[in-house]
Symmetry: none
Subunit: 154 residues, 2 copies
DNA sequence: GATAATATCTGATATATTCCGCATTTTCCC
DNA sequence: GGGAAAATGCGGAATATATCAGATATTATC
């Protein structure tokens, strides 16, 4: 007998694959009712089986009209490269090194010129009003966040 | 089944876009009757979905002959729009308002989905490890820097 | 059997929607 | 000029929905 988490996971993947766009939108309470468990059980299933590393993007909205939306996403090689870059820049990175990384991504056509310029501006020393080493730490955080946004196509 | 606020929002946007000048004038009570909700529900929809950050201007008149008028703010000049947004967000901006601005720029096709996502991640509260109001101030600076990168074509 | 990993649920918290009850403004009529 | 009708605005309560930390239970591994 499998556990309720496996059953819910299987159900969600089934309805996702039957959807041409590989995207589903659910209400926690409805799924919980259907499988006779508490609503936060759905959170557990989603947080453990539908992660970015496994190729899913989860978005949600609280309150009346709330929902949970799960999308399938792709492009593992690029994701891996970006993960390596993110790991490289922890826990802080200088502006010069950051710009070099962005130039590399531009050369490999993983980002556009506009995106490069946007990111360069976001992490410029004039944008971040802190002393070193805090400025380099904040720069690493912002850089990582932006790179994370590039890992997958939707 | 979606909630009544989303339905009213969609209806208002539809009649606005079918209008060449992107301006509509409504009576609260008429819309409320049409969608079978209380009149103040219209206030809620307008106050949350038709904000300045999202590119709308709302005017109204109470009393007999009262109305609500909603206009789409149009900007012929992209650089001017971005300058106005940069001015709007000084000296600090909340994450919600920033996201609304980016959605507006996305709607007007001034930025791509990827660029929007990149910027949303850069200014997310999880990226900026500060207490309020400093976090909103840093957010404004990063946002301004990124918007400045978009003012002109490369 | 001890420990680690995973699963399930509780209770608190965050966010969004809907409506109530009243305030305010404007127009019309006597 | 005053009162009634026609209109919108708003603070707050109630309700609807999701997330999350942590406690506890179950299962897996050694």
């Amino acid at each position: 007998m499998r556990n309720i988490s496996d059953i819910i996971e299987e159900y969600l993947k089934k309805i996702m694959h039957s959807n041409q766009h590989k995207i589903i939108e659910i209400k926690r309470s409805e799924i919980a009712d259907r499988f006779e468990c508490v609503p936060s059980q759905i959170n557990y299933v989603i947080n453990t089986r539908f992660t970015l590393e496994k190729g899913y993007l989860v978005e949600s909205k609280r309150g009346g009209g709330g929902y949970i939306r799960i999308s399938r996403i792709t492009n593992e090689d690029k994701a891996q490269l970006i993960d390596e870059i993110i790991e490289m820049i922890q826990p802080k990175i200088s502006q010069l090194k950051a710009v070099n990384i962005l130039e590399r991504l531009l050369e490999e056509e993983l980002i556009t010129k506009r995106e490069a310029k946007l990111m360069v501006n976001a992490i410029d020393r004039n944008t971040l009003p802190f002393q070193l080493p805090l400025r380099d730490e904040i720069r690493a955080r912002i850089m990582s966040a932006m790179l994370n946004a590039l890992k997958y196509e939707i």
